[in-house]
């Protein structure tokens, strides 16, 4: 129906609201519509459908401009730290990633460094079993650092290709917890060159503008390298990832689309932008 709609202020406002409704953020949405408005003024866009396609191009351009070194697993071993605020899907994503990497013929070890939350270790144990991978945990330990030390040793002993470190959820505005995470990161740098090779920030697709603040704080404290957006099987569009990608130059590597082990997909720019417009 858009193809028949004339381009007027109402349509532009509607499309701006759609971007805002996708959590793209007010400022970014306004900027995009402003750029598009200039194309309209140049008489370069004839109808609503062309307008929509142009907006999609704008979003794709923002995402494409982010430098992406890809998700390299050939560091021998590759040490990966998984971080994020509470309940976003870190532990579940590690299970999915472990399975995905096994499918790429990598031997994987997961580290249960969430020594705080009730049944966090048991939850990861079940995922490790499902994915058929090794797990390092420390019964009764309240010290995440100790478990990480053990895991690094195990990786050395077994020559595992990849280590995935699960950490406790934590709010980015809690200085003690962020300091703890920085310490955990420091430990992973000790034994292997250039470790940690990836610091994955897990972000829930329903997150609003606070997601940008989350990302900034985690980048400052532990140097996030890649983003994974979870729960895109819901109705939230995950538009905050565009703002994060744009402002922090951070690539999105995967998306979570469900609660089962196979519900992990490599990030696809076009699919993501199409979903934003559904």
């Amino acid at each position: 129906f858009l193809a028949t709609r004339p381009i007027d202020e109402d349509l532009l406002e509607e499309l701006e609201e759609m971007l805002i409704g996708a959590d793209i953020g007010v400022q970014t949405s306004m900027e995009i519509i402003e750029r598009v408005r200039r194309e309209v003024d140049r008489k370069a866009l004839k109808n609503g459908e062309e307008l929509k396609e142009h907006i999609k191009k704008e979003l794709l351009r923002i995402l494409a401009e982010i430098p992406n070194k890809g998700f390299n697993l050939d560091h021998n071993p590759t040490i990966i730290l998984v971080v994020g605020v509470n309940g976003v899907g870190k532990t579940t994503t590690i299970g999915k990633l472990a399975n995905y990497m096994r499918g790429q013929d990598k031997t994987v070890c997961v580290c249960a460094a969430d020594t705080f939350r009730a049944a966090a270790v048991e939850q990861l144990q079940i995922w490790a079993e499902r994915a058929g991978v090794d797990i390092v945990l420390k019964e009764g330990s309240k010290d995440p650092a100790a478990v990480v030390y053990d895991a690094l040793e195990r990786v050395n002993e077994t020559n595992a290709d990849v280590l995935l470190v699960d950490t406790a959820g934590r709010l980015h505005n809690n200085p003690n917890l962020m300091n703890e995470l920085a310490k955990i990161r420091r430990i992973t740098t000790r034994d292997f060159e250039n470790a940690p090779h990836h610091v994955l920030l897990i972000l829930d697709a329903v997150t609003g503008q606070n997601g940008l603040q989350q990302a900034k704080k985690f980048v400052d404290k532990v140097g996030v390298t890649d983003l994974i957006i979870t729960k895109l099987d819901g109705t939230a569009k995950g538009g905050i990832a565009v703002a994060i990608a744009n402002e922090l130059n951070m690539p999105i590597q995967f998306i979570g689309v469900g609660e089962q082990m196979n519900d992990l997909l490599p990030f696809n720019h076009q699919d993501f932008v199409n979903l934003l417009f559904k």
Binding site: E17, I20, G21, A22, D23, G25, V26, V85, N86, G87, V88, G89, F116, R117, A118, A119, E122, Q123, Q125, I126, W127, G169, L171, H172, N173, N174, D204, A205, V206, T207, G208, Q209, N210, G211, Q213, Q214, K231, D233, G234, T235, A236, K237, G239, I240, E259
Partner: protein, 292 residues
């Protein structure tokens, strides 16, 4: 801050002027921006700003009173009115045992909130019983059992039963036999668009006839808060809301979105991972937080 921005937009309006269509436009824009940046849903913002405009138009700007301050006052009072209003008390009418169901999206804080609520009710002299009905998530039952130990509240052992309906049937019997007068039902996180799982929730409700169905939502939720809250409300007729993770620095606009679309009271907020991190909802505090 918003008040500074509003004072700027009213810079030309002093003395005996009136707030008019023309001079209020830029102020309304600032209010809209502030609310959107606070994650209030854009449709809720539209309605809100229109109502503020109605109220503001024609107001006399008397000498000595700053029109920006007047507008902030209107906005703040309106926020408090929308956020508050209905009774935040839990419903314990009639004879027990009373049943409280905790529902919501994945990871919103249901299991943790079950423990916090149980602790609070026990402190009020009640005898809560925690019932784990999440048979999908790995170690979910163990998680609630562990939480139960932390707050010294008995937890039904749901292991090996398999179906939530069978779990609650057995748990209600055990509750009666052990003198527990309020059951707190922890359900699996689910998407509001998952018809099968929403159906399961409906049949649980039909059997339990709960006195409270609390929708647990994450304070950092963005625009989608309206969609999920509305769907859960249409499916379950929720009685109240718990806003978790308010110890974060999210502005919490989701509170306004959820309240507007369900018209159900926000009864509690989660303020930490520990079992003591549970407080009554205060509309005035959340209003000023949303305004930034």
């Amino acid at each position: 801050s918003l008040s500074e921005k509003l004072q700027k937009s009213f810079r030309n309006l002093t003395g005996k002027g009136k707030i008019s269509e023309e001079n209020v436009q830029s102020a309304l824009k600032e209010i809209r921006l502030a609310l959107l940046e606070a994650d209030v849903n854009f449709k809720v913002v539209k309605k809100f700003v229109n109502e503020v405009k109605e109220e503001a138009l024609g107001q006399e700007v008397t000498r000595g009173l700053d029109p920006g301050q007047m507008l902030i006052k209107i906005v703040n009072e309106k926020l408090i009115e929308i956020l508050g209003g209905s009774s935040p008390e839990l419903n314990f009418k009639g004879s027990g045992p009373h049943i409280i169901m905790m529902v919501g999206l994945q990871g919103s804080g249901k299991t943790t909130s079950c423990g916090k609520l149980a602790k609070r009710l026990a402190a009020e002299g009640r005898h809560p019983f925690l019932v784990p009905c999440d048979v999908a998530r790995p170690a979910a039952i163990l998680q609630l059992q562990t939480v139960g130990k932390q707050v010294d509240i008995p937890v039904f052992d749901s292991h090996g039963i398999g179906k939530p309906l069978d779990i609650v049937k057995k748990a209600t019997v055990e509750a009666r036999n052990t003198g527990r007068d309020v059951l707190i039902i922890d359900t699996a996180g689910r998407l509001h668009i998952d018809e099968a799982l929403m159906g399961e929730l409906k049949s649980l409700r039909a059997f339990l006839e709960p006195s409270e169905i609390l929708f647990v939502a994450d304070a950092m939720t963005g625009q989608d808060a309206v969609t999920s809250a509305r769907s859960f409300h249409e499916a379950m007729d929720i009685t109240g809301v718990v806003l978790s993770k308010m110890d974060g620095d999210a502005r919490g606009g989701a509170a306004l979105s959820i309240k507007s679309v369900t018209e159900r009271p926000i009864k509690f907020i989660g303020t930490g991972e520990g079992m003591e991190g549970f407080e009554r909802f205060h509309p005035d505090r959340v209003a000023s937080r949303i305004l930034g």
